[in-house]
Amino acid sequence: MSDLPLDAESAAHQRFVAAARSYWRGPLFRTLHAQARGAPDAGRDLVTHRYFAWLERHLQRMKYSGPRGLAAIAQRSRDALVALPFAPPPGLLTLDPTLVPPAYYTACDIHQQPGGLLAELGAHVYRAGVTGGVVDAATLHERFATRIVGDSRVERILDLGCGFGRGTLAFTRAAPAAHVDGVDIAASCVILAARETPAALHGRVAFRQAEATTSGLPGGTYDIVTSTMLLHEMPQAAVRALIVETARLLRPGGIVAHLDFLPPADPVLRLLFEGHARRNNEPYLLEHSRIDLARAYADAGFTHVEATPFDEEDGALATPPRVWRLPWHTIVARKP
């Protein structure tokens, strides 16, 4: 589980929670899916559904909170995590200490992560939390980046809401000649991303602390503007502002490519997806599901808007699904 130093009891606690989550999203999910098909209201009132919902909420709490949770573990090793000498080479990291995050961002501890990503060690906690979880199929970012880049010649890429740089670095590998910028509102994220950037990529990658809709980056510049798991964290008005900003940032002929979640059609999966929003502290996930993205992109002057189901690993789109998963989609549009 990433780089957090663990005492023996915390390691055992985290192993228990990880095993419980595997059972929850595997065997328990499969049983629930079978019991719920044909049940009234997609199985909402089944006892198995209640246990499934409870476990989703509370296993996440047990992972992050309490004396053996990741937030406390990170805090205990704070000095070791932040005292490592780090002198980023010029251009790799730009912080904006004056940035005031929007109220929607600070109003809720997303994913039930205490303190969220704005806490000093937020990115370390986030990284430890997603490693091995439902948003950590080993190949997810690589698959996405290689599909989007394909064999086109790409010079400049921008990764919005880059977190600790998983997508940003995947794009540097998918487009070996490109310069890639990563932008995130959370200082802890861009700092960790810059720290993790291999020296061989210095000069080709730049991380910047900024709000995605007002990045201050030069317009008409990028061949690809991308994001992974950003849109659903923004309220509708912010997503619309982001679409307009993306149109400004792209060069003519450039594409925007998001990897995000759109609601599944299967009624049982839809029930679980809708429940996930509240249980995982995702205040804008359902609002995001209701945006007519094709319309919003067309209104901003984009063409060829396409949303396509995305298999984060082989067999991920099988029906019925083998494990509970988030309904990944690529959302791609072209600026004429």
Partner: protein, 100 residues
Amino acid sequence: MIFPTAAALGGTRGAPALPAMPSAPLPEQTFFSDPAIDRLLGVTMALAAEVYVLRDRLRAIEARTGAPAAIEPSPDADAAAFVARLFAPLAGEQEAKGPL
């Protein structure tokens, strides 16, 4: 707790602290007809985690004393088996057939 962000750079930049976030705790979410069930399940899960931590410590002591292992040697396999036994009742599935 919010820290000055620049501290994470080893103090090489003098960034002021970000504005503190609202500190109100989250409202409780309940999933059962009686919230007492939700909370009791929380206690049960806390106990289960505690038992697992004890199993893990026991394995470490056994390994150190050379005692024959009473517990699966692979921690991940042991955790998976432990959790499967713990959660088996949740889905209400029965193994024995028959009426009544």
